[in-house]
Symmetry: C2
Subunit: 340 residues, 2 copies
DNA sequence: CTGAAAGCGCTAACAA
DNA sequence: TTGTTAGCGCTTTCAG
């Protein structure tokens, strides 16, 4: 049991506890002589300050909280990696909260500030409600959103509307006219990128003079398996799309599987574009819309650290760019070589 | 600022702080009448106990620490997911420590117990040294190893020797005689699975009367890219292997890429087996040795929670099984159809 | 520059 | 049953 306290050190060094505390935090001047005595005592006793006490006394927890939904989602994991990279070495500890169920969501956002167990909060891929924000603001807890949006909170986002536009536009530029969109559920109030990308998709279509066809949009639980099922349906429509834009790379893989099952060659018979550029996309040669997953986490965490030191007058927004990464799952629409 | 304290509640309810504390922790009997008064006051004031104070006073941090190396490694992430699943809802917070550099390693293991910021510790995929264990034991910090080994610490492991044996044996059973092993660095003292699987590999070879050929074993940084490079070399040997056992699925993907670049068909010209059964393995149709990644994390965390409540007399070991998952990257060795 | 002492908010032992 | 009080280990005035 490492129960050597500041008092033991003080006694051993023959000084007061205040002095020990001073050398510990090296504020205020301490004479070099006593400083050495204290240091020696600390060394001899192998003393380490008790964090809980320090926290209580300082009113700072020296920890930042990170709320992530569905920790199994690769893009969330990647963002978290970015967060971890900057937390490590910042002197703060990282307390992780995973939200798997909607009920948990409300609990967390409501309780975390109250429990005063973190000095700052990062909310990843989860849009807080107005009430949540209200609580956060009242608790005066510095908060930064990553891949989420709210006008009153600082945030690091990607322009999902534009990303959706880019993806669709890429397909359009290749000559496709019948373009499907396979997505996560649209009605999830906490996940706006789904709607944003749809908006970009529709915008590109409109711009190209193509009417939105609801058969070409399917939504379902975010998973490869479910995406596969949706694609299976869509590709067996009487007049199936010649290209599919998937909300995420994970879902794009499901579409890829469906295409293979149906004997559709990719990209000759079917073009597929994903979103995220997760690691798997590279070795699957998936064309996709890249967004700075890791970066969003790292930048968000940096922003939080900054704002914890120096509370900003108003919320900052950092917008990260998206860009098409061309690989081998999209190709020019060419009716002459198609087998479907 | 939520600075309403237990004293405010006591005053408002017209009772002593002790009583409030009692209803908070509902130990000791409190009359229903006063209990209601206190509850009402708590409600009215929107009071939540201050965690730091509670921790200090109780001497418990209500948090468990998890040390993971290379948080970017998919198998580590998967184990962590298992951990998260059981921590969430246990009432404990999860404090995450990522170790990217070897120097950090010593620091963490040494400082975490001293800092007294967690009540229990999970060490994932990292073998502690004897000194580390000594410190942990002295600090009296309940610790469980996941995918790591030390006789004095409780642990959840997989039998890597047997796993390596199984993989090699599978290839042998298919008729292969020249079998490569592409692995992480062998000399990393903190990562024993590499050596264990090699041992299983050699054991299977010996059993089949095949001499170990050092050309058929290459080691390098654990990454897809590096594995690709090593495979490129190995496959261009004058007498190249007809099958490759990769230390991990991540590395197996690199081998897959190398094979493709060299025009070797998989599995007709080259059989490849990985290890881990990460998610990507499934959609790449990679034959692999499955181990309970998620399970190891979940079980390890359960074990820790148990041992925190009830310190065991001696260390427990839970051994998780491995099994071959047959997919499409391994096939019978058949010289007649080979193109190489 | 340094020691003493007063909290930080809570729990738990001790009286009542 | 309940109120009072003494810590938990540290930081931070406030004198000196």
């Amino acid at each position: 049991m490492s129960s050597v306290t500041i008092r033991d050190v003080a006694k051993k060094a023959g000084v007061g506890v205040g002095t020990v505390s001073r050398v510990l935090n090296d504020r205020n001047a301490v004479s070099e002589a006593t400083r050495q005595k204290v240091l020696a005592a600390i060394d001899a006793l192998e003393y380490t300050p008790n964090l809980a006490a320090r926290r209580l006394s300082r009113g700072k927890m020296m920890a930042i909280g990170v709320i992530v939904p569905y920790f199994t989602n690769p893009s969330v994991v990647r963002r978290l990696q970015g967060v971890v990279s900057v937390v490590t070495g910042s002197g703060y500890d990282l307390v992780l909260f995973d939200i798997e169920k909607v009920e948990q969501r409300a609990d967390f956002v409501r309780n975390i500030p109250r429990r005063q167990l973190v000095d700052g909060l990062l909310i990843v891929s989860l849009n807080p409600t107005d009430e949540d924000v209200e609580e956060l603001l009242q608790a005066n807890l510095p908060t930064v959103l990553v891949d989420a949006n709210h006008p009153e909170l600082s945030r690091v986002r990607v322009d999902n509307v534009f990303g959706g536009y880019q993806a669709t536009r890429h397909l359009l530029d290749l000559g496709h006219r019948r373009i499907g969109y396979i997505s996560d559920f649209l009605n999830d109030p906490f996940n706006s990128p789904v709607r944003d990308r749809l908006q970009g998709y529709q915008q590109a279509l409109t711009e190209a003079g193509i009417a939105f066809c609801s058969d070409y949009h399917q939504q379902g639980v975010h998973s490869r398996q479910q995406a596969r099922l949706m694609a299976l349906d869509m590709l067996q429509l009487p007049d199936p799309p010649t290209a599919v834009f998937a909300y995420s790379d994970t879902q794009a893989v499901g579409v890829l599987e469906a295409a293979r099952e149906l004997g559709r060659r990719v990209p000759q018979d079917l073009s597929i574009i994903g979103f995220d550029n997760i690691e798997a996309a590279e070795y699957l040669h998936l064309t996709t819309v890249q967004q700075g997953l890791y970066d969003s986490g790292a930048k968000g965490c940096q922003l939080l650290l900054t704002e914890m030191l120096d509370p900003p007058a108003s919320a900052t927004e950092i917008l990260l760019p998206t860009r098409i990464v061309m690989r081998q799952t999209t190709a020019v629409y060419d009716n002459t070589t198609r087998q479907v």
